[in-house]
Symmetry: C2
Subunit: 279 residues, 2 copies
Amino acid sequence: MVITIVGTGLIGGSLSIALQEKGLASHVIGVEHNPSHATKAIELGLVQECLPLADAIQKSALIIIATPINAAEQILPEILNHVQDQVVFDVGSTKSKIVEAVQDHPKRGRFVATHPMWGTENSGPTAAVKGAFSKKATVICDKMHSDADALAFVEKLYATLEMHILYMDSTAHDMHVAYISHISHITSFALANTVLEKEREEDAIFELASGGFESTVRLAKSNAAMWVPIFMQNRENILDVLNEHISQLRKFKSSLEKENYDYLQELIEKANGIRRILK
Amino acid sequence: MVITIVGTGLIGGSLSIALQEKGLASHVIGVEHNPSHATKAIELGLVQECLPLADAIQKSALIIIATPINAAEQILPEILNHVQDQVVFDVGSTKSKIVEAVQDHPKRGRFVATHPMWGTENSGPTAAVKGAFSKKATVICDKMHSDADALAFVEKLYATLEMHILYMDSTAHDMHVAYISHISHITSFALANTVLEKEREEDAIFELASGGFESTVRLAKSNAAMWVPIFMQNRENILDVLNEHISQLRKFKSSLEKENYDYLQELIEKANGIRRILK
């Protein structure tokens, strides 16, 4: 099968590797507006060629959108304008806006809204890795708005990639990911800025930084071009979670200020409840 | 060499494994007030026997304190009361209070204040692991207050464990770890409480939780018995960092509230500066 991947970065590139490895893709065409990324993606074997969008669609049975989500929202209606009976899916971190953008499109049924739950703090074609999606979850949103054959096609593809499929409506998805993913990135960015602001002895950080620091601050390396649009699109859910998070931090602050260590212990023991969820 | 380890949990147990593997310990005596931990530590081979403190000290060339830091601060003067020419070191996460607690003790010179920069979110003897300290940093504080032979002894021991030694005064140490370690734990506890408070669909969290969430929330599993005393002892430094962190989070909040996405991008790009420090 010939597959087009729009956006040959971390997610698009890693998907391409997986689709080629599993024998699903015989030929992958990249659509890439950044010329140096296009060259790199070909060099790394992520795609076999790069073509303009319309040509790529015409030659492909499947079109995958793996751009930042603001670009995805703009390019999806254009892709559907060119589609006959091909299948199109996206892999973006928010779902409500992209689904809205094509709700009245005559080819809406050819589109499946998905979100494979995998990523790293790196970006671009060189960030693409093997074995990225296996054993991870992927979400399919609003499946009733996709044609039955398009949905079945995407379900089969994710199953072949050994992913576990969850179904949600796009509104619920966006609310959940605000907790599960987006807030972690904001706290990590803010933590990095805290350290960079106050800790002038960078050598000390570098020398002392242990596993705990690295794991909480790692996400702060993430790319603004990817994350600003996510925060824009999921603004209300994120503000909701962020307000709650600041109020939870204030409880820790207050317990320390008042030297109320029973309360501090209670807060920590409550947090330990996360063991129920994260094994 | 016969070694006593006071506190046979995550750190004491892992140290014991390393010291036995490197041939530094021929016999390890545990001092453990929790009877089930004592039994478990012997069963796991972390220690060969458990004895009361005074007996253990009398039989040992080296005493390592690996209890929560509030207990360490209380037990250290008692240990020094029993010591002839043995060496004593601790492995606690804060250093100012423990150093203060023995500053006028006649045997102060036998004590070396240290902090190996390794840990996990787990606790107790069963949390002890092999190979924990190799290639990590360890801090020695206020070395001028230790006898030259005691200091050299501990330096050689850490070198044999393949650790990289940093020297700091205890005040600077406590300030740096507030940034590098303690604040990460507070944000992680608060993040866990945010999710547990607001996200009622725990199944959704469990299914969706991806690498980013796990890495930022993992520390929230950490033990209150260990962390309450750390937060107590390092209260002022932590409040300083926590205030800065809340103010950094408010900048993200404000950029979202005002839909000022240029500012949001600026905040993220500034946070990306952490790449200079975390390779």
